[in-house]
């Protein structure tokens, strides 16, 4: 079918509608839909032809003669995809705005058809004046369609739009006519052949006019007002379709201007991207926020267009990925906004009871922030690599900063949607849902297509991810069935793949899969269907498993982002976990971006299509320390080293009973695994004379000390355990940074031990919190008789964690002492020595305030924690005993494996005694001796003290008085007051205040920037003209 029919059908149907009389509205509506489907079919057919045959672009001549004497249209692969996007958006917008169109009558339908036809025209035409005509058609059509909205401010918004578009059209016209005067042709290709040298000023006017159509940052007040007030159906068209058409038009124009104009485009693009995102932060109106976000995305694509000189053949892939991700997501979000009554972001909570709509929102948010497996992710990967290769690091930094801010406000919005309360009901009819569903399907399809096009592993074909997404399909099944499936899946995966891993990775794999399966046992306590839990949990586990499997940087990074997203959704399920989940995702994504930059830098220095992780070892010197620094920072956001730790307490404490152990026991190990890989491959690095590994040593020691110290003063049991996780991770980081054989063995011992006892403690505290309804320790007490199993689990947990001999914690400490014997630097050891006994303090606080002391009245009839929560704890007790008696089973092979990297100082494991260079340790002997002594003395006490009278809680020597009430005689509040007086200065919340100041700075910057738009159309016009002058000065100065 000739591409001209696209325009012919649009125009023809519009006039045909004019002929119909007023009453036959539904006929007119079906005609409109028919026309739009025909146009989409045409572009789809062209797309199929191009994809199948891979033929070149086809020119369509009008008026029978070749240019420059007639207008010609071109239909290439990009034009076909763009017109398909535009027509589909138009079709779905028409479906979405069904009643409004029927109410307003056939003229509105005609205007909509004209708008879509004009957009196709912009994409197809190769003639510049024709481009101007189509742009003006868009202006008029937008003027008309804005009035469809029921918001009475739409009229003023429309008028502001018309004012600015008048200016634009004037500049464009002058530019075109002088361009014609200089080149003698109106055909873009003709002009491009001659080059803009001759008519620089005229080309500037054309260029700035089309850039203005893209709503550049300072001069886009008018666009925001339209987004805020127009009907969401139309806003979807305005942002997705008009945006993409204008971007493609600019791309065509830039061909005339040539590379000289690329920096200008980049500058405008990056300013728009960062500026719009910053101003979006303080927004509360949802559609205005979407307006800012679409402006930001258009700015990003403009930057990409500005960088096409260095992107080479990846250019279309990246620009296309970002464009389609933006268009589909933005259209979808606008259509979703039609279901919500109020315009505040928190009002979106009404969507909560429709899981499908929540899934749609998640898809769109993930597409916008460029998370796997959507096209934005592949595009961002290629873009960052290209920029790093061309050494444009400042631009790279700004893009990632802008992307982080955008992810921040999008996930904040998602937090409102899931966590806030709204009594509104979701009013959505069938025709309104169809476009959203189509957008979701399009999003996932695009993810699949871009995965294939990327040349790297297509994420949607990766088995673990498919398994996780499979859970989406069986959301209707009861929770226990899904739980069984999850456990089965994890253990099956372990059985399948455990052979082809070296011992080190095998330990991590076992912790991720088998460990996850054991914690899933605890998930049997939940009833009902638990919507959303299993997909996110399996997403996290898929990410973790892929992380271990990844050998190249792309696989590693994709896995890292997958597990971050999965764990974010898991943490968000907690009752008050919204702010903490947000800080978690922002920190993790910030860390992920650091890792992305590091891999990009590494790939830039040693160019290879897929950058192997092992290749990190052979990096050239000038870049290696930087890569090491960035990777270390990225991994430390995940192990919550001091300074990057403020997300952890909230995230782990507010998560659900069985999510806390998953996140704390397993997820932190991903960061450790990263550090293992980093140190294994890159070894010692120094930057400006500072030995980075030494710095890691200090950070590890400081984290161990401060983590444990902060844990002491917590009143909330789970927060105490969360801070203690920070401390333990500090220990492990310290062990790693020692860079000697035993240091790594200690870190590994910590990885195992920490997983076992932290999951056990979180489960037992979770069980107690479930029964007593509170997590504040001073409100519990005396539960030892009512919850004996939980007590035993906690007791074994704290004995193991404090390193007291018979149990496995002591093994970790023993290896630690041997490791530091031959370490070079000695001062950090001081901090570690102190954090040992401090761990002892908060462990006693945990067990005393919950299980010992006085039993409160309301807890007298409490039952033991649910069986499904107690069972994993008992398994952990068994494992702890096993590891305590025979550590060699696990560590022997790993010891041999580590000696490949750090040969000296290996332990020898023959017999039951483990001997090192300095000392020996015989766990079995210790256990037997301690047990014998204990039993002997216990027997002796039993013999001597047979007839002890069992007394109750108030039979205590209270200086001959009667204790008043259990609450007043249970010592638990402010447990270590003297310690706070003496060591309190170490735990002032400097880091929290620092990060708070950073976020406040961004918010106030956003607020100041917002004042720029005072709502006056004339001022907006003045902004535009000032913008033109500034850009001209910038171009002249360049």
């Amino acid at each position: 079918m000739n591409a001209l029919y696209l325009i012919a059908i649009g125009l023809g149907t519009a006039f045909l509608l004019g002929l119909l009389n007023e009453q036959r509205r539904d006929l007119a509506y079906t005609l409109t839909l028919g026309a739009l489907t025909m146009m989409s079919a045409i572009s789809a057919s062209w797309l199929v032809v191009f994809v199948a045959t891979g033929a070149g672009a086809v020119d369509i001549f009008t008026a029978g003669t070749r240019p420059p004497f007639a207008i010609n249209l071109r239909m290439g692969l990009t034009e076909a995809t763009l017109t398909l996007l535009i027509n589909l958006t138009g079709l779905f917008a028409a479906i979405h705005m069904g009643e409004v169109l029927l109410a307003k009558g056939r003229r509105a339908m005609a205007v909509l058809l004209i708008a879509i036809m004009a957009l196709c025209g912009i994409v197809l035409t190769r003639d510049i004046f024709n481009l101007f005509v189509f742009f003006e058609l868009i202006v008029i059509a937008t003027g008309g369609l804005v009035l469809l909205s029921d918001d009475e401010h739409a009229v003023s918004a429309g008028f502001k739009y018309l004012i600015v578009s008048q200016f634009i059209s004037i500049l464009l016209l002058i530019g075109i006519i002088f361009g014609y005067h200089a080149t003698g042709t109106l055909n873009i290709d003709g002009m491009a052949a001659i080059g803009a040298g001759g008519f620089a000023l005229a080309f500037f006017l054309i260029f700035i006019a089309i850039v203005a159509e893209l709503k550049p940052f300072p001069a886009n007040g008018w666009a925001l007002d339209i987004y805020e007030s127009a009907h969401p159906g139309f806003s979807a068209v305005f942002s997705a379709a008009t945006g993409s058409a204008a971007l493609f038009a600019l791309d065509k124009i830039l061909a005339i201007g040539g590379p000289a104009w690329y920096p200008v485009a980049t500058a405008i693009g990056i300013v728009t991207f960062v500026g719009a995102n910053l101003l979006a932060l303080p927004q509360t109106n949802d559609r205005r926020l979407l307006g800012y976000s679409s402006i930001a995305q258009t700015g990003l694509i403009l930057t990409v267009i500005g960088q096409q000189d260095i992107l080479g053949n990846q250019y279309l892939f990246i620009a296309g990925g970002l464009l389609f991700a933006h268009a589909v997501a933005k259209a979808g979000l606008f259509w979703l906004s039609d279901f919500v009554a109020q315009r505040e972001l928190t009002a979106w909570a009404s969507l909560k009871e429709r899981p499908l709509l929540v899934f749609a929102f998640v898809t769109f948010a993930a597409m916008l922030s460029g998370l796997p497996p959507f096209p934005g992710f592949y595009a961002k990967w290629e873009l960052v690599h290209a920029l790093a290769a061309a050494d444009r690091l400042a631009l790279l930094g700004w893009i990632l900063f802008g992307a982080l801010v955008e992810a921040g406000y999008l996930f904040r919005w998602f937090g409102y949607l899931i966590k806030r309360e709204s009594d509104e009901k979701v009013a959505c009819t069938a025709p309104q849902v169809i476009p959203v569903a189509a957008a979701v399907l399009a999003g996932w399809a695009l993810g699949f297509v871009w995965g294939d096009l990327s040349g790297r592993s297509n994420l949607l074909l990766v088995l673990p991810l498919l398994f996780a997404l499979g859970f989406l399909l069986i959301e209707w099944a009861p929770a226990w069935a899904k739980n069984l499936l999850a456990i089965g899946g994890l253990s099956f995966y372990l059985l399948q793949t455990w052979q082809d891993y070296d011992p080190l990775r095998l330990i991590f794999l076992v912790i991720f899969t088998l460990g996850g399966a054991i914690i899933f046992l605890a998930s049997f306590h939940a009833h009902g269907r638990r919507i959303g839990f299993y997909p996110s949990a399996m997403l996290m586990f898929a990410g973790l498993v892929l992380l271990i499997q990844a050998t190249d940087s792309f696989g590693f990074f994709a896995a890292w982002e997958l597990l971050t997203v999965g764990s974010y959704f898991l943490i968000l399920r907690g009752k008050e976990s919204e702010p903490h989940a947000l800080s978690y995702i922002v920190f993790s994504l910030g860390g992920a971006f650091l890792i992305l930059t590091a891999f990009a830098l590494a790939n830039a220095v040693s160019p290879a299509p897929t950058f192997e992780i092992a290749a990190l070892a052979t990096l050239a010197q000038p870049v290696a320390p930087w890569v090491f620094l960035l990777l270390a920072l990225g991994f430390m956001t995940k192990t919550a080293a001091i300074g990057l730790h403020i997300w952890l307490p909230g995230a782990h404490a507010e998560a659900e009973t069985d999510v806390s152990p998953m996140v704390s026991g397993i997820l932190l190990k991903a960061g450790l695994y990263g550090l293992f890989v980093l140190l294994m491959s890159m070894g010692r690095q120094s930057l400006y004379g500072v030995d980075l590994v030494n710095m890691l040593l200090w950070i590890g020691a400081l984290t161990a000390l401060l983590g444990n110290l902060m844990a002491i003063f917590q009143e909330d049991a789970k927060r105490l355990l969360a801070y203690s996780s920070i401390g333990q991770m500090g220990y492990a980081l310290f062990g790693l940074a020692l860079m000697n054989h035993l240091g790594w063995l200690m870190a590994l011992m910590f990885v195992i031990n920490h997983y076992v006892y932290k999951s056990m403690l979180f489960l037992s505290v979770g069980g107690v919190a479930k029964r007593t309804g509170t997590r504040a320790m001073y409100r519990m007490g005396g539960l030892i008789t009512l919850m004996p199993l939980s007590f035993i689990a906690t007791l074994i947990g704290i004995i193991a964690m404090s390193g007291v001999p018979p149990l496995s914690g002591f093994g970790g400490r023993w290896i630690f002492y041997n490791a530091i014997m031959d370490a070079e630097t000695r001062l950090p050891m001081v901090l570690i020595f102190l954090s040992g006994p401090i761990a002892f303090l908060y462990l006693f606080r945990l067990i005393h305030t919950i299980f010992l002391g006085q039993l409160k009245d309301e807890h007298r009839r409490i039952k033991e924690a649910p069986a499904s929560i107690v069972l994993p704890q008992m398994i952990y007790v068994a494992i702890l005993m096993g590891v305590a008696l025979f550590p060699g089973l696990i560590l022997r092979r790993v010891d041999a494996y580590i000696s490949q990297f750090l040969p000296d100082g290996a332990l020898n494991w023959d017999g039951l005694t483990i001997t090192s260079q300095y000392g020996w340790w015989n766990p079995v002997a210790i256990m037997i001796v301690v047990a014998c002594i204990f039993l002997l003395i216990f027997g002796w006490l039993l013999f001597v003290n047979r007839k002890a009278q069992k007394v109750k809680q108030f039979n205590i020597v209270f200086s001959a008085e009667r204790p008043y009430r259990p609450e007043t005689t249970h010592f638990a509040w402010n447990f270590f007051a003297p310690y706070k007086k003496a060591m309190g200065f170490l735990v002032q919340p400097f880091v929290t205040r620092f990060w708070g100041a950073v976020t406040d700075l961004l918010h106030t910057a956003g607020d100041l920037g917002r004042r720029l738009y005072n709502g006056n159309g004339q001022i907006y016009a003045f902004h535009f003209l000032a913008f033109v002058v500034v850009v001209f000065a910038f171009k002249a100065g360049l």
């Binding site: 007298r860 039952k863 009667r962």
Partner: protein, 215 residues
Amino acid sequence: MMTKPELMKRMVKGPDGLEFEVDPLRDYYCEAPPTVMPGAYIQIVEDFFNWARSQSLWILGFGTGCGAIEMRPLMTPRFDAYRFGVAWRPTPRQANLFIISGYLSTKTLKRAIRAYEQMQNPKYVIGLGSCTINGGMYWDSYNTIKKLDEYLPVDLYIAGCMPRPEALLAGFEEMKKIIRAGKAEGANQYAENFAWYKANQKRVIHDWDMPDYNW
């Protein structure tokens, strides 16, 4: 008679919504009566234990009347009771000897009984001065205890309107002889006629808001 709110029976709602009744006296305190504790089976072992008990007399630091000031010099270099194996323990759990050093008002009696009942069998009581024998100079006071023996099984009285430290030391020697003789079974005597003792006590103490025997 039970007016104190914290001791009243009350309905309490558990965190899982289960309503149940909490009776402080039954739930907070052990209500078992005291039992007679026989000595070791073989007399020699009992004699040996009695000898050991006499050599390490741990006095409960509970000064009830003006006599308590007499006990302080025993800790000073001049009289030094430590030479005789006598020591002071702050808690009744670890004390064996309870010295009622002077007049006992009914209020103090209630606390003295609680402290006495928290001591472990075998335990001994020494009364100082005449106030414990017959009320002494407070013989007609409305709120003092006239005859200590009705309320607590007393093993030894040391006369003197407050006996001097030397008298106390002599008293301790006397007490040791009684213990070694095996006749210091005040705890068992208290257990055997517990009802009688408790009745006397309740006649004087009107708000006995505790179980009968206070472990």
